[in-house]
Symmetry: none
Subunit: 214 residues, 4 copies
DNA sequence: ACGCACGGGACGACCCGTTCAT
DNA sequence: ATGAACGGGTCGTCCCGTGCGT
């Protein structure tokens, strides 16, 4: 029994360390020795928990996908319908991306050309957005002449684009890009008869480094 | 003089082959032997033209940046102003991305975590969009309450997002995503008094592979 | 603990094999695959024990320096003082050079132009000879007008010269060069009043190859 | 005809540059590109004059051997016989070693383990010393009980030892080591009845760098 | 004759992901 | 859960021809 908790702890440390290295160096350049050293365990221990590098990355992606799902499947807002939900969730997602290494690593692994078949959070996110916008369309929340599929593609592209840009060096994104994006898009997206979703308040100015609870 | 042309040819072949391998496997996984083999030359020839893998990638990025610049600096449209130019150029850019491997590789290298300091076309593109939207704002082409910087960020994010998504496996983007994106965004972006820019016609159905002039 | 002994054994085998290859081909020409093959292990095992070729050479030098130190720091002879000690130790050193590959390799590495900063046994040996001759001078064992520093330089030069010559192909040194050298030098070096140190007996004729206990 | 003189000049520059690089880095580490760059010509030019790296080294050795021969075959001193000649020539040799890169490189190449079959000046020098000491022995210039072969070995060993030591980093040899060596050895070497050879005056203190006419 | 841009293979060191034996 | 070992593979680069200019 005591062993189990210890094992779970090293497993967690491994996932966390792997996410950090993956996010920093990409999948191909991340070395297993570097990960195990950062987690404070030996390479043998790593291989005990995860049979291969791919399995480790897969686990990081799975955890990240779980986080996104938890974010998306929260209670629907009382008013505002699907579109309001979409606005709120994207807002939270960007905030979580900045705070959670594993989430960030999960998304980046999905776009890493070194990984041939990543099924990270990106795919799930894309399908969720598509489903939500189809739903909104069915509920008459979308403006005339707006294709839900096209709009979903645009939203997904912008989301992963924001994620990419924020992870690139040389790019500094302001903290409220999401709000600005919605302010731009909502007039053309939402049916005017229903009223526009309200934008969440932009995050307060950061002073100092935010805690990264992982 | 005769030698020069042969050298230039192999140099071009090298860049082209490198772009293909980089775009397929990412920077880290791309092997120099694979590139030189695909170009039909020896590794020694590769090393003669490019002293290192990094220099090769840098050259690919430089050529790609040049392509983007040529695309962006074409003659301004007679009517429609900056916003129309932006719409047209994004349209051409996405088309070029589908047709030109070097361009695609240049963009992907910029987002590759294996490359520590890529200065590919992404950076230049971002600054160009920002400058153009500032200009549009100064000319009164933007709607009230639209921040040119925020809008530029959104446009850039969406562009690289489209690029990323189209390069990911598992994602199938329809050919007219850009048009749909602009249809969504323009109502909120353009000043109503000036009239909306016209969207380019969606590309005809492709039959067979497009020419890839490299 | 049990593993340690096996690891120590391969480590020893690696050092031994490296010394052989270094002594034969010099540092630059010695290839790591050749060394690991001769040691009967894989290149990965080599890299596990020694992170780089330089570290391996450094270890060989360190072991060789240890051997020289053990040779020099034996008990002083009952009679004869420092000069007698010097004669005895040089004698043993040349014998050890013929018998111990690691020692030989250590000395040769010190003179190898491929190694930029070797701190092999040569340096320590030089300083020991200088110190010993200073001591002999203070004890009045040296003849008038003999500079201990100059004499030390000559002795060191002759020693490494013998080492070099014996390792060069095309040169065949007789086994008792050291005795002949001392017979030549001692009359001018030692104070006549103290009596000359006795020369060790020349080694018996070798029949066959000597064991090389490593 | 004009071409010839230019060719000879580049040939000289090549030999000189090769000697410098060989002396600094050893044979194996010396790269042909480095040599040709230092000589100010292209690698093709190098290959035109010397078909291979080995041929280049061989030429350096040949030139160096020629220098030693010119040094040794000067006019015999009026008085003093063979021993005096030996003393004088060693003195000049050490001076020349410090001044002439090609000479130094030639000697070092002879001891370089990377070169399998160097026939540099070392071999010729050894034989010359042996011959001279045999001659001195026949002329009764040597002390009783001194084996000319053993003495020659000692002298050669000391000479190359001095050469080695002076080329090692970390060793600082005083300028008059040779004089001190002879002061040490001559009492035991020369027949007392004939009078000791006179030592050459030690070189004056160097102020600034000596010219290296190469 | 002399020199050079260009290209060809080959090999070296380093290191990585993985598995056995303990 | 660990230390040790394995074999494959990558980048760099080195030494060397080959055909074009001068």
């Amino acid at each position: 029994m005591v062993k189990q908790v210890r094992a779970a702890r090293t497993r967690q440390a491994l996932i966390r360390a792997a996410a950090e290295v993956f996010a920093d160096d990409g999948y191909a350049l991340a070395s297993l020795p570097a990960i195990s050293k950062r987690a404070g365990v030996s390479t043998g221990a790593l291989h005990f928990h995860f049979p291969s590098k791919d399995a480790l990355a897969r686990e990081v992606e799975a955890v990240a996908t779980g986080s996104v799902q938890r974010l998306a499947q929260r209670e629907r807002p009382a008013a505002g319908g699907s579109l309001q939900l979409l606005v709120d969730v994207t807002h939270d997602l960007l905030a979580a991306l900045a705070a959670d290494v594993v989430l960030r690593a999960g998304f980046e692994l999905g776009g890493d050309p070194s990984r041939k078949d990543g099924s990270g959070p990106g795919l799930w996110w894309s399908e969720w957005v598509h489903a939500l916008l189809r739903e909104a369309h069915a509920a008459g929340e979308l403006a005339q002449d707006v294709s839900p599929e096209g709009a979903a593609s645009a939203v997904v592209a912008a989301t992963v684009g924001f994620g990419m840009l924020s992870s690139w060096r040389r790019f500094r994104l302001s903290a409220d890009v999401v709000e600005q994006f919605w302010a731009l898009v909502l007039p053309g997206l939402a049916a005017p008869s229903r009223g526009l979703p309200v934008l969440p308040a932009p995050p307060p100015e950061r002073t100092g480094l935010p805690a990264d609870p992982g």
